[in-house]
Every structure is written in C-alpha cells, then in structure tokens.
C-alpha cells in the first residue's frame, strides 16, 4: 500500500511538473488576484474596524495562499478525471494495486505541491515588502497549515472527479472555488463582511484556515487562530478523504 501510494504520488507530481504551463495557473491566478485586490482596495485598511496590519498586501497573502491551495484541489480533480477519460484509471484498477492507493497517491501529491505553493507566496510576500511578523516559526506554521489544507482540497478534487468522471465538469467547479472563498473571511476581516457572507463565514472552515495562515504573517504567532486553523484543515482533510474513498467505492461498484 505504502509503495503503491508513493509511486502514484510520484507519478502525479512528475506529470504536474512536466507541464509547467498547466501548473502555473495554480499560483498565477491567486497572484493576479492578490495584485488586483491590493491595487484596488488598499485604502480599505483606513476603514473603521480594520485590524492593525502593516499593509493590505500582508493581509491578503493568506487569501492568496488559500485560493491557490483550493485551485490545487481542482487541478488534482481534473488530472484524475483525465486519467478516467483516457482509460489509465481503468488500467490501474485492473492492476494489482491497492484500491486505496489510487486515492491516497493523488491526495498525497497535492499535499506536497501545497508546500511549493505556500513557499511561492511567502517568497512573493517578502520580495514585495510584506512582513512575516511571526518570523521563521511563523513561516513554519504557515507551511504546516498549508500542507494539511492542501491535502484536504486535493481529496475534494479526487472525490469530485470520481463522481463526475468528466474533466470539463470538474473544470466547471472552478467558479465555485470563489463562492466558498467569498463566504469566508479569507479576503476581508470578518467584522467588515456584509450579511449573509458574515453569517456563513462564521461556520466556513475556510475562514479558520485562512485566519490560521494569516495570523503568523500579520502578528506574532498566537495559539487561538493557529490551533483553529490546524484543526479546521485536519478535519476537512479527514472528511474529504473519506468522501473520496466512498466515491471510489461507488465507482468500482458501478463498473
């Protein structure tokens, strides 16, 4: 099981890295969104109720990381759907490979990729003048939450692909990534959100993940937001991995 998972994870990573033009959007979209949000709304830090931060760019970094990780999950789903459409998945099912490894390999690869995505945004932040107030320990916390959350988002992508079986349907999920993000405190402080976004944000695990990622960037590491962030990411990963396994079982039963 372990060897098969690692081999499939390596294959997923190799395939992703082999075509950087398809990898680039995972960081390019959030980077552009980061740029346009910062460029268009930097004056909002003057609004009453906005927390004390070094700048709106610093505040938005966690939003960009969260968005990038979600897109990583969508990309992971598209890759699985293409494997299904192309027949590779069926060949894997026919091979003497533990079935769980089919899900675990892809999900693990998405988690590893998440580390690279977090590194990109922290580097970008430092280059463009953000302050990582939590220092090196803070950066490590961001990596930890990012890797766990990225793994969970990968599991969502795999579950969707196994249900939909079509790359274009999984691709259609792309706009929904923004719905989930908009209904969280990823982009703006919870206190300044309008209803109903504010009400939903309180229950959206993405709010806690984004706030966990943000805390070490805009302040010294505080236990509350970081623990909530880690917990939300871990709970999401467990729940979504379970859904992915259920989707796999459903698919195998139908075939």
């Amino acid at each position: 099981m372990r060897r098969a998972t690692l081999a499939l994870a390596r294959r997923s990573l190799r395939n992703t890295l082999r075509r950087p033009q398809f990898l680039a959007p995972l960081v390019a979209f959030p980077t552009l969104f980061l740029a346009v949000n910062t460029g268009g709304l930097s004056r909002t830090t003057d609004l009453p109720g906005f927390p004390q931060v070094h700048g709106f760019f610093d505040f938005q970094l966690a939003a960009a990381i969260t968005q990038s990780l979600l897109l990583g999950g969508v990309a992971s789903g598209i890759a699985v759907a293409l494997d299904i459409e192309g027949g590779f998945f069926d060949r894997l099912v026919a091979a003497p490979v533990p079935r769980l490894a089919l899900v675990a390999g892809r999900v693990l690869a998405t988690g590893v990729l998440a580390l690279g995505q977090v590194a990109w945004f922290l580097a970008l932040g430092l280059i463009f003048g953000a302050h990582i107030e939590g220092g090196v320990p803070g950066a490590l916390v961001v990596f930890a939450i990012g890797a766990v959350a990225g793994t969970g988002f990968g599991a969502i992508g795999v579950a969707l692909a196994l249900r939909a079986r079509s790359a274009s349907t999984v691709q259609g999920i792309f706009p929904l990534v923004f719905v989930i993000l908009f209904l969280s405190s990823a982009f703006f402080p919870r206190e300044l959100l309008s209803q109903p976004a504010k009400a939903v944000a309180d229950y959206n695990p993405l709010s806690y993940i984004a706030e966990g990622l943000r805390d070490p960037i805009v302040s010294t590491v505080s236990a509350g937001p970081v623990l909530y962030g880690l917990l939300a990411a871990a709970a999401l990963t467990v729940a979504m991995a379970w859904l992915a396994v259920l989707a796999l079982r459903g698919r195998l039963a139908n075939d």
């Binding site: 979209f29 552009l32 004056r43 609004l47 990309a75 259609g172 792309f174 908009f182 309008s194 504010k198």
Partner: protein, 254 residues
C-alpha cells in the same frame, strides 16, 4: 449561402451543449452572479471610502464587472469545448468538411456572443432583485452589445490557445487571460482610489474602456464620450485576436 448556414449550425451546436452537459455549463452561467454577490458581500464596505462614485452601493458598481466576467468565462469555455472536440477527433472531421476556415471560426466565436447572454441574464435578475440600480433601456442595451462583442474577443483568444495546446488542460490559461483583462481595470474602484501602478495598467488596458462603457448606465447616464472608446477598444481587440485566431485555424493541418 452555405457559410452563414454553417455559422448558424455551429452556434446552435454550442447552445445545445448547455442542455447536453448542464453540469459543465451551469457553474459558468452562475459564476458572474456568484462573483457579484461574493465581491459585494466581502468588499462592500469599500463603497464607504471617500471618493467612491455611488456611496455605499458597491453592488451596483460591481455588476458591470460581473457582466464582463461572464463574457470572459463564456469565451474561455468556448476554447475548452473546442479543445475537447480536438481531443475527441470531432474537430478533424469538421476540418475535412467543404467549409471555409473563417466560417468555422465565426460559428465558434459568435456562439460565445450568444451564450454570454445567459450568465448576464442570471446576474442582472439577481442584481436587480437585490436592489441594484436600473441602468435604463439604453444603458442596458449598450451593455448587452458590448459584452457580446467582448465574449467574441475572449473566444478568439481561447480558440487560439485551444489550437496551440490541443488539450482541455489549457483551460486555466484561457481563463487567466480573460481574468487579467477584466480585473486589471477600474473593476474594484474608480481610478482615483487605485494604487498608482494599477491606475497606470488600467489606463493601458483597453478593456477598461469597455468596462466604463458598460458601467456608465449603472452609475450615471449614457454619454457618447464613454461609448465610443468602448467600441473603438473592442474593434481593435477583435482585429488583433480575431486575426491571430484565424491565422492559427488556417495553419491547422497544413
């Protein structure tokens, strides 16, 4: 006489896809509405900033952005569908048909102009229901014409990429172009509130003129001064991207 019939047949085929694969089409139709509700829910407080053109009404300000995003998403989806046709071999059969390449391009691209009316309708219905300002019949008609033309331009861009990469995996690249074009404008705030670098970019970006042309009815009245730059920008974009798309198409298989 055959060419217009081919164009119409390709447009109808694209419309049929909405019914045939609703799972793939529905998110694209709803995306701009989601963006409008999401952006106004998240960044609505920005309209409280001094210098905002319509005080405390970020929703009306952002609706034209949603209309342009709908056009952009539809254009990108056209490219994704073409890439799928290439992958499945249907496009090769189309190329063998006794039809001019320009008719193939026109049918593909004009289908985007029609399809973009779906997300626009959903967005406007929800927007008005939530209390967005009515732009007047002239403002509305102008907005529809401008976004239809922008969808065709976005489709030209996506067709170009579909022919280059020949895989649906290029979808993100198609979307990213339209995404940048629409958002690196005065999308979130008027020019005077943008940071200097974004202000400079928005001045160079021709889509800013299209956005201002669509927005004028929503936040004021329609003027010739804001209308002609929008059409001039679209004409230029059509010539450039239409030319590149046609060039890519004529080179296929030769």
């Amino acid at each position: 006489m055959r060419e217009p019939r081919v164009v119409w047949a390709l447009m109808r085929r694209a419309l049929n896809e909405i019914l045939r694969v609703p799972g793939a089409a529905i998110p694209g139709v709803l995306a701009p509405t989601i963006f409008m509700i999401g952006l106004s829910g998240v960044f609505g407080a920005a309209a409280k900033l001094r210098g905002f053109p319509i005080a405390d009404d970020f929703r009306t300000f952002i609706i034209p952005v949603g209309l342009l995003q709908g056009a952009g998403f539809t254009g990108a989806a056209t490219g994704v569908n073409l890439a799928r046709d290439i992958e499945q071999g249907w496009f090769d059969r189309l190329l063998m048909a006794p039809v001019g390449r320009s008719a193939l391009l026109a049918g593909t691209v004009l289908s985007a102009s029609l399809r973009c009316l779906l997300p626009a309708t959903a967005l406007l219905i929800v927007g008005f229901a939530l209390g967005a300002r009515w732009p007047g019949l002239l403002g509305l008609a102008l907005a529809i014409v401008l976004i239809s033309a922008l969808a065709a331009v976005a489709a030209c861009w996506a067709v170009m990429l579909a022919l280059r990469f020949r895989t649906q995996q290029a979808a993100s690249l198609m979307q990213i172009g339209t995404f940048v074009a629409v958002l690196f404008t005065t999308a979130y705030a008027p020019k005077r509130l943008l940071t200097p670098w974004l202000r400079d970019v928005s001045e160079l970006n021709p889509v800013t003129h299209v956005l201002e042309g669509v927005r004028q009815g929503f936040i004021g009245s329609v003027t010739w001064g804001k209308t002609w730059p929008a059409f001039a920008a679209l004409l230029g974009l059509t010539v450039v991207f239409g030319g590149f798309a046609l060039r890519s198409l004529t080179r296929v298989g030769r």
